[in-house]
Symmetry: C2
Subunit: 487 residues, 2 copies
């Protein structure tokens, strides 16, 4: 018999790992992958009741089965940077394929960056950070410092890196409920304390300032240092977009309590009614307040190329901007960034294309305009159509989204379904989502993965699926049968 | 007066952050950047004694100023994946630019992956992982399981993720001295205990098994659980390549003590004399041992596209393979990978191109062969030439490298230099490296950033710089003046 004693088991590994949960890619997603593979390979033992998997579980606009195509301008510029011989050695042929402004842009980026296969500075390419600063200035009307801007491998990497520097074990971090599970996952790993505040479902998922105050008080009562506050605006999974007044109150609270404000603003471009409910950045709100507040409150805001009109998730690009952060702490942020060497250069180029799209005067503009409008219109019309139909289903309530790319309908769960789920050792909405997948091939994440008021049940669906009518038809049919089964 | 109390200061942030050190991108690199910018902008107040910065501090083969160009085959395939219209809509023009096998490869990858702008599964694209498994099987003669292979954002991301799951606070992790500072940085952040073992400089930086045993004993005596052992092979910064016998002894030790073996094998392609000192993987050694050992010892091996003949650092691609890891722990590794969503797709494609280069029968092969041979030959001849000249300098000793892309010459530091450095509050080799930069523009990292036997001093230089003769001439002149100054 072996005397070997392995180093790794659930009892010996980092216990913080065990506490991490991440529903978006959990059991449901793995099951959906299995179904998908069985449909492709035709290996399932009995015929499945659907012909394809509809992936409404993850905001991944360019994935197979969805209809969002990459922006032509982006891909043209990047292809030239990947293979510069195209624009130098084969320039005559390239001119037959690429608009002149694309070639000029690629040449200029190539001159700045050099090879996209080389490490860049750990903060990212300086000239790109300068253009990010310009973009922020134009958006907000306040200056931005390229040295306070870090390019990142998507917003997730930025969030993980800032939380990892900012939070000690036991520190409190306020998070919205519902939230994007990156936050709870990262806090669990850091052994920090998530301090939930509830968004008001009855008021279009708006920010309930009293809930914020209550959470601060409760944290203090428990002796937990209330160190940071996460706001997702526009909201994921809620789609709600904050008003200027609500944001000012948040900044005021952060000033009063000395709380670091973390603004997840990755959906800032996905706004459905910009006239009546525009996106406003926390930087703009902060810098518009009294000098004392404007120069005090610590803010880190995050942006990404994965969402918006680009939807370039796989490229892993994004940035964060630090405002009013102690210079000594900034040095620590730099050091930690340097250990990861540099963000993917292809993602950095993506950030550049996001913050400086083609100008209206340029040859590429009309196509870029046409493609981005289609993406915006699709998202908006699908979101409204889906919400309308969710509200027609018995026992379902769904707020209209004001932005982002999700809906978060509430399911009034029949008591018998709750009982049945309990017997399975599952949350009722997890059972609902798994049943939905089994019956229809639709992959939607249970609300419990995002957090919800106790006793309520939700699912999150993306507004990215083509054939919305068919989608909602299948969903509605399942829902009816589910209610029938558990009535 | 303001009552504002900021959330973040050196006293309140994550204290683990403060303990992290990372010399490769520290003071020296920042100073070099400043000089570089001053040379470009011509802003330096007095003329500098050099015309350019020679970046010998970081293994970044494609950076500006070095002469390694990207592999044409790689860039051709990737450019087509970035802009598939090139090979579909503009196929006739593409045929005038690209070899037929490149177009076929890109079409096949495009069919498998879809858009490179979409998230992939968190482990990476399955078909790519299957080809990685095939590559490992062909290399080692033992089967590999695609489900135990994770594609990563470079080897660094893989190392950080495995250490982050494996190690609890206080766990011991054996690391070579000298080592690549990623390890000490990550261990510091995790509050794990680095347990140094010393490589034998006098014996070509070979692995001294007694030093390993001694480290295990010392760890045990201190009550530190000896959980993991890092081996870098070929070595960074040493360039030493392990023998089969030495590796077997390591595996045997891991078996006896139940230690997780972490094999950093990112330089496996950079081998100078493959006939006499070939690269052997730890997987191959392990699987060639008795069935009991082969099926027990826990191994994670890391590979990267940043080094080798591709040198595609900026793309952030790599993989790790897990062997004999508890399935429940594998689930935890999966969960943590899923929080980061997916590795950059462009890096995943890079891994594919690394593990399955063009075949000798294909049109692209001769150019690929020519380009990769040049890279290998340059690295080898520069490494030997540099070592030869270092050994000619007074008070310098340098082992020849057997692989990787660095040399780690020892500087017999004059006592007066040690005194002078102490007065500056610096290690003597840090002062040496800063003086070298000031005098010559050569950027080389002090040995203390990698660790060294107490009382010895080194610098790490890459073997990537063109004009080796000029490089070594400037270095030698500086060294002579340094000795003169402190004699």
């Amino acid at each position: 018999m072996s005397n070997f004693k392995p180093a790794l088991s659930l009892d010996t590994i980092n216990p913080a790992t065990l506490a991490v949960q991440y529903a978006v890619r959990g059991e449901l997603a793995l099951k959906a992958d299995k179904y998908h593979q069985a449909l492709v390979d035709k290996t399932h033992s009995e015929p499945l009741p659907f012909e394809k998997i509809v992936t409404a579980n993850i905001g991944n606009p360019q994935q197979k089965g969805l209809d969002q195509v990459p922006l032509t301008y982006w891909r043209q510029v990047i292809s030239l940077l990947e293979y510069p011989d195209l624009m130098y050695k084969h320039e005559e042929l390239a001119k037959q394929i690429y608009p002149a402004d694309v070639i000029a842009r690629a040449k200029s980026l190539h001159k700045e960056i050099g090879s996209v296969g080389a490490y860049t500075p750990s903060k990212g390419v300086l000239s790109i950070r300068k253009r990010v600063a310009k973009f922020i200035e134009n958006r907000d009307g306040f200056p931005a410092d390229p040295e306070s801007i870090y390019l990142t491998a998507g917003a997730s990497a930025g969030v993980a890196s800032i939380l990892g520097v900012a939070l000690q074990k036991g520190d409190g971090c306020m998070i919205p409920i519902p939230q994007y599970p990156l936050y709870t996952a990262t806090l669990a790993y850091l052994e920090a304390e998530p301090l939930p505040y509830y968004l008001a479902e009855k008021a279009d998922w708006s920010l309930d300032h009293n809930s914020l105050l209550k959470t601060v008080d409760e944290g203090k009562k428990k002796g937990i240092p209330v160190k940071a506050l996460v706001i997702i605006n526009p909201g994921n999974p809620t789609g709600a977009c904050l008003s200027h007044a609500a944001m000012e109150a948040v900044v005021q609270l952060c000033y009063k309590e000395g709380i670091l404000l973390l603004a997840d603003e990755v959906y800032q471009t996905n706004i459905f009614d910009p006239k009546h409910r525009p996106f406003i950045s926390f930087k703009k709100v902060l810098k518009g307040m009294s000098e004392e507040v404007a120069n005090s409150v610590e803010l880190v805001s995050f942006h990404s190329i994965s969402k918006g009109v680009s939807g370039e998730c796989g490229r892993r690009g994004g940035y964060f901007e630090c405002v009013n952060i102690d210079p000594e702490v900034m040095e620590q942020i730099y050091k930690m960034a340097s250990v990861t060497l540099c963000p993917p250069v292809s993602g950095q180029v993506g950030v550049d294309l996001m913050v400086s799209p083609p100008l209206p005067s340029e040859e590429s503009y009309p196509l870029w305009e046409k493609e981005t409008s289609l993406i915006q219109n699709n998202l908006k019309s699908r979101s409204f159509l889906m919400a309308e139909h969710f509200n027609k289903m018995e026992g379902v309530f769904c707020n209209n989204a004001e932005g982002a790319m999700y809906l978060f309908p509430r399911i009034d769960m029949p008591p018998k379904a709750i009982e049945a789920a309990k017997k399975l050792g599952k949350e009722a909405d997890v059972m609902y989502a798994l049943d939905l997948l089994d019956a229809t091939g639709i992959c939607a994440v249970a609300g419990s993965g995002f957090g919800q008021e106790p006793g309520t049940y939700h699912v999150r669906v993306t507004a990215l699926c083509p054939d919305t009518a068919e989608f909602i038809g299948r969903f509605g049919k399942f829902h009816k049968e589910f209610l029938e089964k558990y009535k």
